[in-house]
Symmetry: C2
């Protein structure tokens, strides 16, 4: 096999565009110098457009979890009540953070593979008027579900003043996000998914309503204190030493997104989702999520008559292609294909054609080329819309 | 379209493996220091294995043409006779070099798309006993023909003492080459094809017989004087300043070839050729060359009912995929797909699936997925051999 070829088709980290790798290899600069301020000044408006907000998007040096923790510790005071909607493994992470910080945490469990139901959340809030914050996941990476966040926001507002906090780690940058228009209060994402960067940065924005709560919140915090971050970013700087290489990369990522056009970026992600789903439908292999609940960034497949771990090993051995397994109780029953960030329809054609071979080698009889054909038809029809 | 994605499927230059790019970005070192000597010492035996020779393989800083010129000026004295077998555009290059250097040049023309006939060359040499050298092309990049070099060498030896000089630019490193066993006298290649490097290095080896001629040849030469190169490389150095970055890359390329195993490298190239050819056969689209004459490194396609330049533009626009056109009188009638060097069966599945879309968009009706299926079947059968 061709050595030194790795085809990364997992739902993060995702491949890095060559120009971003080049940007990240620039020589170090002082993080208190003018060059860094100029870079942050260039980044700020572009990052706001990706979040769909007029608010500042703050840049933390930390992984996605640091962003989730930042959301929790800044918006909820000790002893207050919050509800966490758990649709999979990453919803559970939010619950653990809340529990670690003396937050009275209610959990709304949703069956893995299904999206949350806004009506159920609304009813829960009517029964629990003391809840101050709702924690939700936009794309649940562990199942490939895109939760209906705009509908959730609208449902909550009908009955409650609770803040809506959204983990957008595995989709923002690949899926349309209109924070202000939808009325989201805190939105968080990380750098290693649709943002096409290595892990190491978290991005977080808060609504005016959320800022009031953040300012009044007596909870002790320092590195993750959003007020410190906001007071600095408005002056094009950071409260603590930033990961300069990742900022170089972020600047180039945002440049690439603007070159392609955000609408085009989102359309490309939907197209890749549809190509992938139509391929497995054509091959008669079950998808974990319904069309309605599916995320444009990751697809979970639940094979009935071949072994997912065996299939994944074959893909790695034959093609150097990384396909993700499931998590927790789904570790061995599903596999997940990432199609976000630096990933194109041509990459999906490759993944589908190679997976057909992997499926045959894993022991399932299929009509070769049938999944590819379905994906090609989706691609060709897309142009006619 | 995803910006910053370029899928290079032309017959050179070819994509650079990531580890080779990393190797080439090492800091400069002095070319007369121990580190450079150590590097050349590591490179020499590995380069000999790729050429299939016990002779030294010399490393010139120059493009492939400098290697071809080196072959001509070192082995043929002014006024001597030589024959150039022209099977395409790169055979013509050899003829032009010979003519520039006062060599009485005979030309054996072969129809583009066909391989040379050893018997015809043998008969020509019987009629022209004064010919001192035969110039041939191993893979004719302009048509995707792999000429039968071992058979040519055997045929020449039956009737002549002429040296056999072989341009291996677009195949050595991807196709088995047994210089000593086959009795080749001079073998030349460049760095930007199956060697997976940027252009800038030429590699050249000579047989004992050729060395005698080189030593006795009174023709003036300096930079391209092979004696100077040999006298230096045996001491792990070079007569002139070498392109250090490319040597860093070459060292890593040879390491990758050894890791994969040369036999595996050659088998991978044959497999990619068979996948590509079977795909176009399944789609009912003509190939320029016969199965027997086809090169494992490049495939030329001659479409009858869609326009090649239009198709190539579509591939670039839709997928950022570069497919080469033809050369000279075939510029607009054929297209050529490179499958050498840093290129895998998964890359060919991608190219074929994407080209099916390009063919449809260029106006030809085909059964989508049929070419992919044929290539997948070749891949699956390969494992059973």
């Amino acid at each position: 096999m061709l050595t030194d070829q790795q085809i990364l088709r997992i739902p993060g980290p995702t491949p890095i565009p060559p120009s971003v790798n080049r940007a990240m290899s620039q020589p170090m600069i002082g993080h208190r110098g003018q060059s860094t301020s100029d870079m942050i000044s260039d980044i700020r408006p572009k990052l706001k457009r990706v979040f769909g907000t007029e608010q500042e998007v703050m840049i933390l040096t930390g992984s996605g979890t640091s962003g989730l923790e930042t959301a929790a510790v800044n918006t909820v005071a000790p002893g207050e009540e919050a509800v966490v909607i758990v649709t999979g493994s990453f919803g559970e992470r939010f619950a653990k953070i809340c529990e670690a910080y003396d937050i009275k945490t209610h959990i709304i469990e949703v069956t893995w593979g299904e999206a949350l139901k806004p009506l159920a959340v609304k009813e829960f809030l009517q029964e629990h008027p003391e809840v101050k914050a709702v924690f939700s996941t936009y794309c649940e990476t562990s199942t490939g579900v895109l939760n209906p966040i705009p509908e959730l926001a609208a449902a909550i507002k009908e009955v409650s003043d609770a803040l809506l906090i959204v983990d957008g780690v595995s989709c923002i940058g690949g899926v349309e996000t209109k924070m202000d228009e939808w009325g989201l209060d805190v939105v968080v994402t990380g750098s290693q998914k649709a943002f096409m960067l290595p892990a190491g940065l978290a991005f977080i924005a808060a609504s005016e309503r959320a800022w009031k709560k953040i300012e009044d919140n007596p909870r002790p915090r320092f590195y993750l204190d959003l007020k410190k971050h906001r007071d600095n970013i408005v002056k094009d700087t950071t409260p603590f030493t930033p990961a300069i290489s990742l900022l170089f990369g972020l600047q180039q990522v945002l440049q690439l997104m603007e070159e392609e056009g955000l609408e085009e970026v989102y359309a490309r992600h939907r197209l890749m989702m549809e190509m992938t789903r139509s391929a497995f439908n054509a091959l008669g292999i079950s998808l974990l999520t319904s069309d309605e609940d599916a995320s444009p960034t990751v697809t979970a497949v639940e094979p009935a008559d071949f072994d997912s771990p065996v299939f994944r090993k074959i893909m790695k051995r034959e093609f150097g292609m990384d396909i993700a397994g499931g998590q927790q109780h789904m570790a061995k029953t599903i596999f997940r294909i990432g199609h976000m960030g630096y990933c194109s329809p041509a990459d999906m054609l490759q993944a589908i054609a190679a997976m057909e071979i992997g499926i045959v080698k894993a022991g399932k009889e299929i009509e070769l080329g049938k999944g590819v054909r379905a994906a090609q038809e989706i691609y060709l029809n897309e142009g006619k819309r």
